[in-house]
């Protein structure tokens, strides 16, 4: 845009940006969650490497069906979890678009009313 962008809401802060926009939102929380997961993953990786270092090396691939049943993970919950999380992500995102759209539409009608009053 040619002009500097200022998200125009009725309740703007001193710098012209929306107070609502300046609040730490879901995006920031998601960013923090990603960083925590990455940090946790790296930490766990270090732990696994340390544990593996004390064990004799395994030099061949073990087929899944030869692993003892107590060491096997059930696949169905993982599959259901993957599909459910995907649905949740889609629905939450569609809901967030809908919510943001309502806010913008409300601001537009507020502004139209104010413009009509003045």
């Amino acid at each position: 845009m040619a002009e500097s962008r200022r998200y125009p809401r009725v309740d703007c802060g001193e710098d012209g940006r929306s107070k609502k926009q300046m609040k730490p939102g879901g995006l920031l929380l998601y960013a923090l969650a990603v960083l925590v997961v990455i940090g946790g993953g790296m930490w766990a990786e270090i732990g696994v490497t340390e544990v593996a270092a004390g064990q004799p090396a395994q030099d061949e691939f073990i087929p899944l069906d030869s692993v003892p049943p107590e060491d096997q993970l059930p696949a169905a919950p993982l599959l259901v979890a993957a599909y459910s999380l995907l649905w949740v992500a889609v629905l939450v995102y569609l809901w967030s678009i809908w919510r943001r759209m309502i806010t913008v539409e409300r601001d537009l009608s507020d502004l139209s009313r104010r413009t009509g009053d003045s």
Partner: protein, 225 residues
């Protein structure tokens, strides 16, 4: 696409919903992969998630280039909408991948070339959105530059499994799927189309939101003058 009527938009949303609801039936009827068994069925939404993410990244990257060189606000609106979808579909890929990996590989995550580069791609577009949200005036151009770097990362993510030694399967699996596993090909195409329809619906809605924000901004600027 962006001037889509409400009826078309609603129709596409219903089509996407119906396809996602029927997808599990097709996936359940698809044959089991011989070594991984049931958990391999995560493939039917894991791969389309990443393809949708790459599509979003390319739309964001090309729109950002248009915005940088032509200064068209419509291109910027499309770019920010696509960036959000890139993060969303990337998140889906990053969540479904480890759920598959823990069963198939015995680990949730592996710091190999493919997985690490895919994570970096997600972080680049997360950075894009953070820049847009908190960067203040002028952040549009900075984020557009970032989107170009993000787009440049995609070919590396794609070929990483062929170039470096990695635990992840190579890119040969998908092109040969129709001949190597015809029973899996139909459900995969179904899921792929479902994701693409959903992608179009979400992108249209998100661009519409950005257009309304632009309208609001113009009204405020007109009021202040």
């Amino acid at each position: 696409m962006m001037a889509m009527s409400t009826r078309t938009f609603g129709g596409l949303l219903c089509v996407a919903g119906a396809m996602f609801i029927t997808a599990p039936i097709l996936i359940a009827s698809a044959p089991y992969e011989s070594t991984m068994g049931l958990v391999q069925k995560i493939f039917y939404f894991h791969v389309p998630s990443w393809i949708a993410m790459f599509l979003a990244v390319f739309i964001c990257g090309f729109s950002s280039a248009v915005y940088l060189f032509k200064e068209k606000p419509a291109a910027d609106r499309l770019a920010v909408a696509a960036a959000e979808l890139a993060v969303l579909f990337g998140l889906m890929g990053l969540v479904t991948g480890p759920l598959w990996a823990i069963k198939a590989w015995g680990v949730w995550w592996q710091w190999d070339a493919r997985l690490t580069m895919a994570l970096i791609l997600e972080l680049i577009f997360l950075a894009y959105l953070l820049l847009r949200a908190y960067g203040g005036p002028g952040s549009e151009k900075l984020s557009a530059g970032l989107a170009l770097f993000g787009m440049a990362n995609v070919p590396f993510v794609y070929i990483s499994v062929n170039v470096w030694r990695t635990i992840h399967p190579t890119t040969n699996v998908l092109p040969s799927l129709s001949s190597s596993a015809p029973g899996m090909f139909g459900p995969f195409v179904w899921c792929m189309v479902a994701f693409l329809v959903l992608f179009v619906v979400m992108l249209t809605a998100r661009v519409r939101l950005e257009e309304q924000r632009g309208r609001l901004e113009q009204l405020y600027l007109a009021l202040e003058r």
